[in-house]
Amino acid sequence: MKAKATQTNSEASGQKEAPIYEGDRRKVSKLIQTLLVPVLAVLTGFIIGAVVIASSNDAVIAAYRNFFHAPGAALVATLKAITTAYGALFYGSFGSIAEIYHGIQTYYATGDSKSFLLGIYPFTESLATVTPYILAGLAVAVGFKCGLFNIGAEGQFGIGALCSAFVGYSIHGLPWYIHLPLAMLAGAAGGAIWGAIPGLLKGLTGAHEVVNTIMMNYISFRLSDWLLNGPMKATGYRPLTPVIENSAMLPRFFPDPLRFNWGFFVALAIAGFVYWFLFKTTLGFEIRAVGANPDGARYAGMNIVRNFVVAMTLSGALAGLAGATQVLGIDHWVGQGFSAGYGFDSIAIALLGQSHPLGVVLAALLWGTLRSGATSMQSLAGVPIEIISIIQGLVIVFVAAPAVIRWIYRIRAISTQTTVLTRGWGK
């Protein structure tokens, strides 16, 4: 006997009526809405960045001194500063179509590929730079999915780099199909341990992973200082490791100085793996459940401690792998300050990509391309690289506070779920 429930209106807070099932058109508009905030966030970040660039440019400042006499000149100077800077950025990220086209022509005419390679150099450099960002972004994203904020990606990256470099330069005579995977595994393992420790501490004692991962970062910096000045130092004065064996290097597609290598596709494959892991396996289901509601997960029988540790270990492994791909694919040795910037960059990438593997890949493409171009911005337009950090921080704020973007651009709100990371300091 089914009871006929009189549909009573529910009490004030929280209980909405169930929505009508969305047709395909609504689905598309929802997709646009989900993308809208991150896109606008990046845009706004760049606009503010433009303001900073202009206001720190000597020519612009000089022109504004004469503003009331020649306002046009001031505006022109502003635009010039911004376009030069962002132009250099674009060139550094993608190269110039004209140069590439010219290079193709030359190749067909003479068989000399040099100008072609030079033309595609910026773009391939961007892709090479993107590779560690994909993995580092995935690292932070996996953490977020479990409700954990892994700020330790930088330390895990560094430790992973050191481990893979060690395997790379200290073992001789192995064929590449053993040496290379072994080195990558070493990187992943190093990062995994560095991530597992805060994960264990969080699971067993409830200590907040934010402070612990930051502390582990600082410890890793000191550790790498010691290693690079001591046991792992190559002969000579400078604190860096010996160059790794050829058999441990990630193969490149083009001759030097193009550094685009297999690492890019390895990273994409791993992104696919992470997607499968998070959404198609029981372990991933648990991790997401723990992230969404640890109390509920516990009641359903899931082991919270184990999931924290698994998530942080996986996260650390991914970050360590990022360091490994950087060493084995790009630099082939490790020096001081190797991991600088990757930590915070990866947080921005994970947030921009809404912690979804596909989003992370897209966000990493954006970010890596920008970073790659930023060096040109510094050398060609004289803008310090740190401007990217400022833009980055702003983008994080805008993505994390969609309300700010909506307020600026007067967009209506849709119901989105935001990951709640702050749960106070303990259990």
Binding site: A3, T6, T8, Y21, A292, Y299, N303
Partner: protein, 523 residues
């Protein structure tokens, strides 16, 4: 008698819900008005408007004949309105004095708090209205009844003339309810007016002068309590003929499924919350655990489900000891659990309905082969369960947070009942639900019992326990003080036990009289 308070045409809506629809209400000075309605009728919204926590969309408020606009709680307090909330607004780590003075703190020497002055005043109020409270006690150390007294003193300290009490008896034993009623009568004698929000019919008839019934945000009617009856009020509340009696067959219990011996459990603060509890539950019977909330029931359930460590004692399910088992292993033994906090413990709100329906079994066949989840099977099964259990949802893909409370509870029930189970532990299974859902859940629990499942029902609603159980255990300060067959139940006796009176004394005090044993629904 003059009207101390009048509400005219109060309307308030929230996105998708019309909570209050043109409500008219009036309270005479020195009288007690009961605001009656089931869960979700709009009572608390209305009172929150009166207290300044919400602003009405339309309508007027008159105090002593004068129209007023109440912007926020300080306004309401200034106009003599005081509210005792259903969930206490007290800070556990502070003393009673600090809680009472918050917001109106007297100062000495320019900047220092004058706690002594407040403590003195508390003792004065205490004496005047018979509200025994220690001003220097920490709220966290006080029992629930004492906390409620602090809340009332808080309101009186601010010289309220109109007191609003929201579901005050939810956390009291029957004897404490009597004590509260004495306080209310004393308040009214001193010229105060009281609005008493509840969904309990018996209490309303016992204490109120006038009763206003709300249903779905509208006033159904206002009656004088002398002219009202439980049946009339119930049908006003629900809008149809209400069957006040639960029909069930007599139970035929078989083997012992759950056996608990000398159980001791500590809470996070190392207090012994379960203090030597022993009982059995057999297949095919419902054992109801009655008791005021806070006497160890929650921790008992935690221990039984593996969520809290056991200090000593034994728990066996089907003769297998489970004291050290993990929650998952206990679930595997055939235990189903309906938690008391469905949103926090029973569901993963952002997850879709289909994921919540397999929350306990996702790692087993056929839902997973090894590590890989079998999405098709999951979605198919979810669809079947939604139909089977009449869960109102547009599809299985929406987040379960979009469902109403009743339907969320049905998701939990569907999930738990769709596994092969031997033991069902239900903690406050109908808390905050509307009548239809309550009827449904009760029906399902009894059906399970008739299938031969052992059921442990834990609820602070004594009427619900009496209505459903075959045997009733009373829990007080972590111990099971007595277990009686439901057929022989005497509500007054149970009430005394719930208050800590020893079994022998309670028996003397409450001789059974025929006709008292009504098996009734919770209202």
């Amino acid at each position: 008698m003059p009207l101390v308070l009048e509400l005219r045409g109060i309307t308030k809506s929230f996105p998708g819900v019309l909570a209050n629809d043109a409500i008219d209400l009036s309270v005479e000075k020195g009288k007690i008005l009961a605001l009656l309605g089931e869960n979700g009728a709009g009572k608390t919204t209305l009172m929150n408007i009166l207290y300044g926590l919400y602003k009405p969309d339309k309508g007027q408020i008159f105090i002593n004949g004068e129209e007023v606009v109440i912007h926020d709680p300080s306004d309401a307090i200034a106009r003599g309105i005081g509210m005792v909330h259903q969930h206490f607004m007290l800070i556990p780590v502070m003393t009673a004095t600090e809680n009472v003075m918050l917001g109106v703190e007297p100062i000495r020497n320019g900047i220092f708090l004058d706690k002594a002055k407040v403590a003195k005043r508390i003792l004065e109020i205490s004496k005047q209205y018979d509200l025994d409270v220690d001003p220097h006690a920490y709220i966290g150390d006080l029992p629930v009844g004492a906390q409620q007294r602090v809340e009332i003193i808080k309101v009186l300290y601010r010289q309220a003339d109109i007191l609003i009490l929201d579901e005050p008896t939810a956390v009291l034993t029957p004897q404490e309810v009597e004590g509260l009623f004495k306080v209310l009568r004393s308040l009214v004698e001193n010229g105060k007016s009281v609005i008493f929000i509840t969904h309990k019919l018996k209490e309303v008839l016992a204490i109120a002068d006038t009763i206003t019934v709300l249903r779905s945000g509208r006033v159904v009617g206002t009656v004088n309590s002398k002219e009202a009856s439980q049946e009339k009020l119930a049908s006003m509340m629900v809008g149809r003929e209400v069957n006040l009696v639960v029909k069930k067959k007599t139970a035929s219990p078989k083997d012992v499924v759950l056996s608990v011996k000398d159980l001791y459990v500590r809470d996070e603060r190392q207090n012994l919350t379960v203090n030597g509890a022993s009982f059995d539950v057999r297949a095919g019977e419902i054992l109801g655990v009655a008791g005021v909330q806070g006497n160890g029931q929650t921790e008992l359930v935690y221990a039984l489900t593996g969520l809290a460590p056991v200090v000593s004692g034994e728990i066996s399910i089907m003769d297998k000891p489970v004291r050290h088992s993990s929650p998952r292993n206990i679930l595997k033994r055939g235990v189903a659990h309906i938690p008391e906090d469905r949103q926090r413990h029973g569901l993963i709100l952002p997850f879709p309905v289909h994921d919540n329906l397999i929350l306990c079994t996702y790692y087993q066949r056929p839902f997973a082969k090894g590590l890989a989840l079998q999405q098709k099977v999951i979605i198919e099964t979810a669809g079947k369960l939604v139909e089977q259990f009449d869960i109102r949802t547009p599809n299985v893909f929406v987040p379960v947070s979009t469902l109403s409370g009743g339907n969320q509870q049905k998701v939990i029930v569907a999930r738990e009942f769709s596994r092969p189970i031997k033991l069902l532990i239900a903690s406050q299974p109908t808390r905050g639900l509307d009548v239809g859902s309550i009827e449904y859940i009760h029906g399902r629990i009894i059906a399970k019992r008739d299938e031969g499942i052992a059921v442990l029902l834990v609820s602070p609603e004594l009427d619900e326990i009496i209505a459903l159980s075959d045997r009733i255990a009373v829990m007080y300060k972590g111990q099971i003080v007595d277990i009686v067959p439901a057929a022989k139940v005497n509500k007054a006796y149970l009430g005394l036990l719930m208050a800590g009176v020893k079994s022998s004394e309670a028996l003397e005090a409450t001789p059974t009289t025929s006709g008292e044993n009504e098996v009734e629904r919770v209202f």
